[in-house]
């Protein structure tokens, strides 16, 4: 990667033009609008040529690292390979040019795809019905909690305003609950990171709307007591929410619906191979058991007895949560992935992902501190270096990995340990890649002993070094004009 310092505004010169539109031969223009409704000064946008634009953004792309660039062992993010046929189907003109409000009979292909994908997700998760309108995982969580509240409200049970969240949960869980108007009750984890069932028992009463669980949890451990937890929570009238962030561990082997969960979301940009796009667009479909189907957000896509597809609004729906039908283009990609795998190969996704994680864990546990021993699922957590005498931190290790051409793991999460380093390799990385990563991780351990300063000042081979985050936050410069 090379350093390139320009912003598009800095290439601008008055009179330069990067667009090509027909001349206005109509004889009318927006100059005919009343003055009081018109903007006074033109917006400050770049004035650049088309080649300027192409070269600028190509240069920017070369300061970026993606899954196509190299290994991305980012825990809980499932950075698997993004198949290219997915992109091909998503750009088919017949889908790209569809208006979301055009008559249903002119969009039967798109509606069928939406419906077929929802059926595929149902069979893979054991959930009865899916809504695909959610834009992201956090959006799925929020929708799932709305469904939970709506279900209780429809039964006239307004007292259920508390939701139980493990202390190891992703930050979005408590945040989604708060935005949904629920109060969060934290349940603690045992030393091995699983939910303390005895502590949970003490929290259950008729004010509990439900519990949010990630299984395997954020330490990559399967919650072996999930059956007992489901019985306890259902016993007090609550519902179980499954955070699908870690579904890649179980795909093809274990279905949340069979474990007693009532509501769940999936991250199509994790488990179903759609690209992360530098932060989005993703998709966070929400699935429910039959008793909650009427609470799903609208519009829903249904298949009528005559085989035609239609949009439907249930009077008991939790509401509309998106302008239209979610990130439809992302849904196409996920469905292409499912068709490529087919019913046999999909069974191997979870096992191969779990195998890769255990392989790395066992290969490095002698030189990195492994706080929870034993079998992990698709990811695991190290608590920093085994030998802490050098003072080298998890941050230093992460930054040094960048020098060697690897993305860093998720660091300082989960919050249960001080030097967390959460590693998730996924099923699409070859043994050669895993071995190369293991080799570099061991080399970094050696460097920590021989030259700790090299690590503390890493990275050295990237376009920029560690940015001054404190200065960025104390004197915010958030736009070009402020520079």
């Amino acid at each position: 990667m090379k350093y390139y310092d320009k912003l598009i505004f800095e290439l601008s010169s008055p009179g330069r033009c990067g667009y090509s539109l027909p001349e206005n031969r109509w004889g009318t223009s927006t100059d005919g609008l009343p003055d009081r409704l018109r903007r006074k000064d033109a917006p400050v946008l770049p004035q650049v040529s088309e080649p300027d634009v192409v070269r600028h953004y190509t240069n920017l792309s070369q300061m970026n690292f993606g899954v196509d660039s190299g290994f991305y062992p980012l825990g809980s993010c499932t950075m698997k390979y993004n198949p290219k046929v997915n992109e091909e189907v998503a750009s088919l003109p017949g889908f790209a040019s569809l208006h979301p409000l055009q008559p249903e009979w002119t969009a039967q292909g798109a509606l069928k795809l939406y419906y077929d994908l929802s059926r595929a997700l149902s069979t893979l998760t054991g959930m009865a019905e899916f809504s695909l309108n959610q834009f992201a995982g956090a959006h799925g969580e929020l929708t799932g909690l709305m469904i939970m509240r709506q279900y209780h409200r429809l039964r006239g049970d307004d007292r259920r305003t508390r939701v139980i969240v493990p202390d190891s949960a992703h930050g979005t869980n408590p945040a989604s609950a708060a935005v949904c108007g629920l109060s969060v009750v934290q349940v603690r984890s045992l030393e091995d990171g699983t939910i303390d069932v005895e502590a949970l028992k003490g929290l259950l009463d008729d004010t509990v709307a439900g519990i949010m669980m990630t299984n395997p949890n954020t330490l990559g451990l399967f919650e072996t007591h999930v059956k007992e937890i489901a019985e306890l929570v259902h016993g007090c009238g609550g519902l179980l929410y499954y955070d699908g962030a870690n579904m890649n561990a179980l795909l093809g082997q274990v279905r949340p619906g069979d474990m007693g969960f009532d509501i769940m979301h999936l991250n199509l940009h994790k488990t179903f191979s759609t690209p992360h796009g530098g932060g989005g667009p993703g998709a966070g479909p929400v699935g429910v058991v039959p008793a909650l189907a009427h609470c799903l957000p609208y519009p829903r896509v249904i298949r009528r007895p005559d085989g035609r597809y239609a949009l439907m609004t249930d009077k008991d729906s939790c509401g509309r949560i998106s302008g239209f039908m979610g990130n439809f283009g992302v849904l196409l990609k996920a469905y292409a992935y499912i068709l490529m795998l087919g019913k046999q190969n999909v069974r191997n996704v979870g096992p191969y992902a779990v195998l890769a994680a255990n392989y790395i864990k066992e290969s490095l546990k002698d030189c990195y501190k492994l706080p929870v021993k034993g079998l992990c699922k698709h990811e695991f957590v190290f608590d920093g270096l085994a030998d802490t005498s050098s003072g080298v931190t998890t941050l230093d290790v992460a930054k040094r990995l960048l020098d060697y051409g690897f993305h860093a793991p998720t660091i300082y999460f989960p919050l249960l340990f001080h030097q967390s380093m959460m590693i998730e390799p996924t099923e699409t990385e070859s043994k050669e890649t895993l071995d190369a990563f293991i080799g570099v991780m061991r080399k970094i351990v050696e460097e920590a002993k021989s030259d700790p300063e090299l690590l503390r000042s890493a990275p050295h081979n990237t376009p920029v070094g560690r940015p001054d985050e404190t200065a960025a936050a104390t004197h915010p410069v958030l736009k070009y004009e402020d520079m």
């Binding site: 667009y19 055009q102 069979t123 708060a178 935005v179 109060s183 096992p351 255990n358 001054d468």
Partner: protein, 441 residues
């Protein structure tokens, strides 16, 4: 069929299992109770080859009827320069995660900074975030910002002239978030300032949401709105079409505190409703209430300019149950889309697109009135979209037009039909639509 996404040979698997202390893949699930291992058959087809997958999608694509679009209602068929798709397909952008590791994410961070800058310039605001899911959810987040900023007040006001899907999503979020929603009436096709003043007089309102261009396509005259809202101690948010902001008065010029809306109108494909991108911008005093990712400029130890995610103390992963938004991502690649679009268009290109849309829409409007079967519902200035009262039942009209290959005459309310023209519609296309309309009325 072997799967091209799994790189392991049998020998690799054996060596990896050995290291993991397992004999078979099944052993790796020894911690899962036997009853939870799925033994049934998935209701899915057998693995397909790439050719078969493409064929399956093409078959479904052929079930859709391609239509020439003469409707908007929140999704606009603007022209996208060829460069955009080419840039977006760069896998360094497409296959990256959220830019947590700034040192190897300067590409993403820089274009987000550019996006924020351009959104500020279009809206007349001081700061913008890295984008939201879509327009309606950006409006809901704007309203939650108002409530968070006011601390004690939980009441918000929304204009009845907003797009229906914006009202629906804001009401859904409000219902669960514990916000009480009052509706500002519309009078003669625009937000009623009398109704607004009356609702504000109780002194319990945290925020007000009004459209810049409303559900009827009318450009709202917001004179006096900001004073009235601020006088009542509330925050004013304007829901805007960003493409239009090259020519029409901006939220900043109207005195608004927050601007939100959908960036779809910046050339994004209709794509049956998504992916698009919402935007959210505000005045400096509300900067720390702004949800979502924000990129800031700084430098590294050698003094090189560098960009980072900043002001993270606002965000959900720090605040957890004290959070006022659960947003933890953005529509990053679509923000890049908007940024490349605006770079190519510049203020002149954007003005041209607006002029062509305006001229085509007014041409269609006048010709439709001249048929004698349509009449104006409101006599107010519009940009590219308008509603008419139709003497032909709307569903019948829409169906006949769709059969002839047009998506036009969308029924918005009983007896009203809506039309929209962008720069993509040529005079020939408009005349063909008019010819078809004359045969069905």
């Amino acid at each position: 069929m072997q799967c091209p996404y799994f790189p392991h040979t049998q020998e690799d698997l054996k060596q990896m299992l050995d290291k993991a202390g397992a004999v078979s893949l099944r052993d790796l699930f020894a911690d899962v109770p036997e009853e939870f291992i799925y033994k049934g058959e998935f209701n899915l087809p057998d693995a397909m080859s790439e050719m078969e997958v493409l064929e399956t999608f093409r078959r479904m694509e052929s079930l859709d009827k391609p239509l020439t679009v003469f409707c908007g209602a929140g999704a606009y068929d603007h022209y996208a320069p060829a460069v955009i798709r080419y840039i977006l397909s760069r896998s360094e952008f497409q296959t990256a995660y959220t830019p947590y590791q700034a040192e190897i994410s300067q590409g993403t961070l820089r274009y987000i900074f550019e996006f924020q800058s351009m959104i500020c310039s279009l809206t007349g605001m001081d700061c913008a975030n890295a984008s939201m899911y879509d327009g309606p959810t950006s409006a809901a987040e704007a309203m939650m910002m108002c409530v968070a900023a006011s601390r004690r007040r939980r009441r918000i006001l929304v204009s009845a002239a907003l797009l229906p899907q914006v009202l629906d999503v804001v009401r859904t979020y409000a219902d669960y978030h514990g916000m009480d929603v009052g509706t500002v009436a519309q009078a003669d096709g625009v937000t009623s300032s009398d109704s607004l003043r009356e609702l504000l007089s109780a002194g319990d309102v945290a925020g007000v949401l009004v459209p810049g261009i409303n559900r009827y396509g009318i450009i709202e005259d917001l004179t006096g709105f900001a004073d009235a809202v601020h006088g009542a101690g509330a925050i004013l948010a304007v829901y805007s079409d960003p493409s239009s902001l090259a020519v029409i008065r901006t939220p900043g010029e109207w005195g608004a505190d927050i601007a939100c809306g959908d960036a779809q109108s910046l050339g994004m494909p209709l794509s049956f409703g998504g992916p698009y991108a919402g935007f959210l911008a505000c005045r400096k005093e509300y900067m720390r209430k702004l949800p979502g990712r924000i990129v800031g400029a700084t430098s590294d130890a050698q003094g090189r300019r560098a960009f980072v995610l900043t002001l993270q103390a606002r965000e959900q992963h720090i605040r957890r149950e004290k959070a006022t938004s659960n947003i933890c991502s953005n529509q990053s690649l679509m923000a890049l889309y908007a940024t490349v679009y605006l770079s190519l268009m510049g203020h002149e290109g954007l003005k041209r697109a607006n002029d062509l849309s305006y001229a085509g829409a007014h041409y269609l409007h006048d010709r439709l009135i001249a048929t004698g079967c349509f009449e104006d519902v409101f006599d107010k200035p519009f940009l590219k979209e308008f509603v008419l009262r139709s003497s032909v039942p709307a569903d019948q009209l829409q169906r006949s037009l769709a059969e002839e290959g047009f998506f036009a005459a969308l029924q918005t309310e009983e007896g009203y039909v809506s039309f929209c023209v962008t720069e993509k519609r040529s005079r020939e296309e408009i005349d063909r639509l008019l010819a078809v309309i004359r045969t069905v009325i």
